[in-house]
Assembly symmetry: D3
Homo-oligomer: 190 residues x 6
């Protein structure tokens, strides 16, 4: 089984800015996540992908880091994206300090039991994920009623939109998760 | 009816690089497309959006300009995105020099009559648009059988993915098309 | 691309009553709408179709003319019927004196922003269009709560039913819109 | 439980032509089928409905009478229309001289075991019933491959379209079958 | 047409306990329901099937016998299972002493008119039948609001689950109803 | 978060045969799987459930143990059942000696890359899982073409049917996986 349908580009083959950028990620993670090797065929697209990702996932205001990953895992579960569920499931385990949440959210985001705020976040994401034509004022109103600010609503919606793209890039390339992601943070520290 | 659910940012309020970039688009079109005013709340996201868009839509190799817009209109039609259908419908009329194609593709991308290559392009896009978990080797094989190269297949898939995001940003913001888009290139020059 | 999968019958080939009836329509429109040429193969069916259409679309009581076309465009959009969306989109532009409404309703009838009465009309139509087995007392009650009378509810339901048929006849015959429909009433008179 | 959501009109209250026409049906059946009493509120619509019905269901050429009812029961089953399934199930039992076929077709038209011609007829009808936007050349080609003529294909498609309307009128009016229909022709004569 | 895709096992070929058990059923009904002959290939599975069936369908507490069959017919209708609809339709006619209810429930369980308790029972069953991932506290709350006890809710849910299995065994084996089921209890005794 | 919506029954509270039977499972696993505690409210149902489970999952002939779990994980993934995916995912990791397969199958059973036999097994299971009314001869023929015997086809179908039930019992009871299942066999022995 290949890691990607269209082959991989190793960091050393990338333009310098991307080589350094991916290098920093690899140093931190201990490995190069396969998504970067798969998108490396198109440096301009990879660069924009990274910029968009960082603008939304590393943003200081709005949702917490764990909440951002919650949106990613919920929408990736609803889209049945193996790479995104396994890779971001690992990150959600780290960010949420909860070893079981990611598997539960990815398997059934619609009914996983959560506190009111987290449920409102996921409901908003799901409303936009599979049948976006039905998204409307009722969804916005429900999010506001649960206490989400408009800035937080934008975060949820924009992350959902970003992973609507990212999930499809993974489906397009038949992207496989790095083996490391499957086992990261499986044991919860008490 | 507001043009966007979360208000608009005028070009003059944007960071200089974006102000200039949007300015060039406005000069060429005669108006500022509403998507840029709606995304202006988040300059870093707008910048990444523009970079991603240009990397895919202005690319020299692979699909023709008209074929790229065909993918956009088909996927936006399948996602029932008013802004994207009206705005990119106008661009498709211009690029394809066909005043009727866009309305036909947007209304029923699954069965609009097209030549074999265009049909293969849209079929590939549609396979990734609504039920991406079913996308697989059969779809790739059908595209190759119709003569698409792997580089062209990537183009189709990546544009579909980009507009999976873009459609959802428009749904999120309840974005309205500029009035100009409705009437552009409606009369076919013979 | 043929205008219809099973060929066309010209008005001159029709029985006299239909020839005169289609003639009057052609005189008013300036052309013979393709639906009449496509259904001309079966004069008895065409005659019943015209009678049903006139009984519902030219009725004096109940919904306004513009509201009737709103139902047609919403249901035809939800059914992805190219002929009906383009032809009745043109008529809706004329009847509503709104050059943009038809494109917005056809693209996303579920969420297009409308006043309360128009929203109630479309919601009722949509409830019957795609999953009629779920139609029930809740839909009737919502329509009544928005002020629709039972006579108006019948109008909405019966027009939706008529175009459930009409949309499928267009799909059956792969019917193409006359070129004139694409451009009619695109420029809004102020 | 009322027989219809909007009340009934008795034959005696109808215009003379309809009173006579319904009278002849009642004489033949032994009772007035409820659909006529429910549509009687709108004589012009009832008249067009009867004309359309007779043009398609009593046509001498093309499909046999039993095949026409097979299309009606299959499409009504797929649309979960109680009135149409029970009433036309009875007629199918009579026309096909098969006491079990109607229940089997109505319950699962997609997989009921049939000879090749009947299967092709139902497949064509089903392709147009629930997701008409996907109907296309492949469906026509499959029907032709099974030996259906274009005239027969039109019959199947047009009857499916007529009952797309008729099913929805029954859903709109919450129409109940006459008790007689449930038991007609249940015992197969050998 | 065979009665089952994988052939039948006659009672005489079964282990003694099953032969006696099926014998008692046959004595009561006047015939051996085909499901037992089809599952007879695997005596251990047939035995567990009968045990599960009896534990739920012959239980003294909770739902009435007629209500249990109502759940079976509703879920089998929603799953388009010919064997289950025809066989349990017959049993529902007997248990409910209503000759028309079964046909109405099987054809459109979502909207068939029922008293509040029966409607709540069917709504709960349907929520679990087709999209079980959406089943949740709202469904439980609605059932409780209609007066169902937790013991009755378990009955509804467990019978729905049992027939999710049973329906699929019938689809797997292309099981045909015994002719007797079609006509049983069609005439309502007054 | 409760482990089950209707509370739990501890093994000590069960009839003796079930207490011993669950005891043997607990001894082997090191813990009592929550499904048995949740179903313990109804000993007769639990007993039949265990009998059915053992008849199919411990059967000597036909599919291998790993293949049986593959069917369970695929169908439970398609049904979004958290308990079944997590618990049987663990068992599949053990049976298949593959630490990653279960997560991949559960997340996207439709497109996970597998050898031809495993793909045929899952395709057959999926055909029966979500839209069983479409299951038919084509599905059987595809399985046979991939080399499955009728006995193996029955295994796949019957396990799919059993977990159609089991998944719904877990949804009904909002069943939570035991913490042990999340981490079992995560590290692949080389």
């Amino acid at each position: 089984m290949a890691d990607s349908r269209f082959g991989m580009v190793e960091p050393g083959e990338l333009p310098e800015d991307l080589r350094e950028r991916i290098g920093r990620i690899a140093e931190k993670s201990g490995f190069v996540p396969n998504i970067f090797r798969a998108l490396g065929h198109r440096p301009a697209e990879l660069r924009a992908f990274l910029d968009y990702h960082d603008a939304l996932m590393d943003r200081a205001d709005g949702l917490s880091k764990a909440e951002r990953e919650l949106v990613v895992v919920a929408t990736s579960g609803a889209n049945h994206c193996v790479y995104c569920v396994v890779a971001h499931g690992a990150i959600l385990r780290i960010r949420s300090k909860d070893a079981q949440l990611a598997d539960r959210v990815a398997t059934n985001p619609w009914q996983v039991e959560l506190d009111e705020r987290a449920r409102a976040i996921i409901d908003l994401a799901l409303a936009l994920t599979r049948r976006p034509e039905l998204f409307g004022e009722d969804d916005i109103a429900a999010a506001r009623a649960a206490g989400l600010s408009d800035d937080e609503i934008w975060d949820v919606g924009a992350i959902t939109a970003l992973f609507a793209m990212s999930n499809r890039l993974a489906h397009l390339t038949a992207l496989q998760p790095n083996p490391e992601f499957y086992t990261m943070a499986r044991i919860q520290r008490q």
